[in-house]
Amino acid sequence: MHKLLAVAAAVFTLGTPAFAQPTDILNASYDIARELFEAQNAAYAASGATVTVNQSHAGTSTQARAILEGLAADVVTFNQVTDIARLVEGGVVSEDWASEFPNNAAPFYSFPAFLVRAGNPKGISDWGDLAGDGVQVIFPNPKTSGNGRYTYLAARAWAVEEYAGDEAQIEAFLTKLFANVPVFETGGRAATTAFTERQLGDVLVTFEAEVLSVRNQLGADNYEAVIPSVSFLSEFPVAIVDKVVDARGSRDLAKAYLDFLFSPAGQEVAAANFHRVRDETVAAAHAADFPEVRLVTIEDAFGGWDKASEEHFADGGLLDRVFLNQ
């Protein structure tokens, strides 16, 4: 009943700023992080925090759009810098967001990996196999999902090494890869359900965190994880949405919540939910769960996010040349 009254009150105040210190914050997050933040928020509450953390999950570009349209998220926990950059451009996040928290404001990371059906019937072991004839690949839409863009970058990074930088061959490979994708879902979780529930495709490309979590949930008898020879470091940045916290007076709450994600307790929850963490003690305790992998970074392979966004993801960029969904 109290909740109902609160909703009724919200209707009549039409979302105008609250006068008292708010008791809840909204975390707009990426699609596959549902279980992670359910666990994080429970751990946060157990640590003595009294704030209610509400969750919204979708592809991160979708989330960025919603926030620019007015979704009142206090914090964002995204999986890619490009979508926070859009929020900076829109004037809702301050430009120095990356220096507000350690590790460029990224509490955990992951990378694109493969999930295949039991027995790996198509013999998929590396990126090159994804462009093979008769192989169907599932990954989310790079236009709406950070997950999908990482897949594109990882595949390209592999191709750059494989074809020694020959742009024609790289593009031919990527075109073939994208042509092997029967459906581009808008978020990572929808891609997972397409692969597991709808039984579409031979291989799902998504974050290692999702690959391990799905294999864990749906049984190692049904699915196998495949780690490619090289993948792409996917740091999951967090930021305070300044425009919202200033309007609501919730900056302290937002900051405390994001700080928790970097604390040993928060890092432990992340590692237990298949995300790789920077905290050395926690990482060492979970070392057995995470195989060694060679990761290239955005700086090494693409000269940083700004350059990559402009070259690859802008309208008419290199992504549009291989991704023909118009």
Binding site: V7, L26, N54, S56, E69, A190
Partner: protein
Amino acid sequence: MHATRTQPCSAAEITLIALAFGLSAAILVVPLLLIFAFALREGLGVYLANIVEPNTLHAIGLTVLTALIVVPINIVVGICVAWLVTRFKFPGRQVLITIIELPAAVSPIVAGVVYLFLYGGQGLLGPTLQGAGIQLMFTTTAIVLVSLFVTAPFVARELIPLMQQQGTEDEEAALSLGANGWQMFWFVTLPNIRWAILYGAILTNARVMGEFGAVSVVSGSIRGQTNTLPLQISQLFNDFNVTGAFAASSTLAFMAVLTLLLKSTLEARGGWR
């Protein structure tokens, strides 16, 4: 008035009846049963736990609240529109009827899209409103607005043919006997149309509670905040929580059965159809 209804006597007639029952059972009854079967498949305890799960409970509350706001508004507006088009002749009358019919004929996604273009950050009025500190998109208000849109004609549609058929003699008589406008409406018009109003309200309520497409565009789908029941069901399904999705669905299915019962009772009682 009605065609004679004969007892089935020939094999052909029995076949037709059996076919109607068989197909209806397969297409309508089995899906209804499946909802409750799946909701209860892990036992009553799990079922109840799924219903009182805070986010699902909140979604139920939000859905009921939306209906409580939308249904009364659309009753009042439906009466006004019906009164206007059945009691007066004026230019643009047919246009008015067509415009109010349009929302129910168009895809609910379009309903969401048009509101986004009006109140969104890039929309017609959005920036002005945001400047004034009023945020409509991704709030409960937006859910209420699109619900009003998609159910706009539901009450008027029931009232217009009825009031047309009833004519104005009673109301004119009341006026000539000295009643004022409100008295005439309250004692003459309203008793004549109350069952039709209720009927329209039931249809409006069913649609509001079940609206998915339009709401999914304008709600931020925030669990525990702007998730209505249909959105919550879709999210539970995407979380691999099929039993939870069916438990949430069962509340809406129960509401649907109630709607059918009320409708059927009203039709038997009203007899205006």
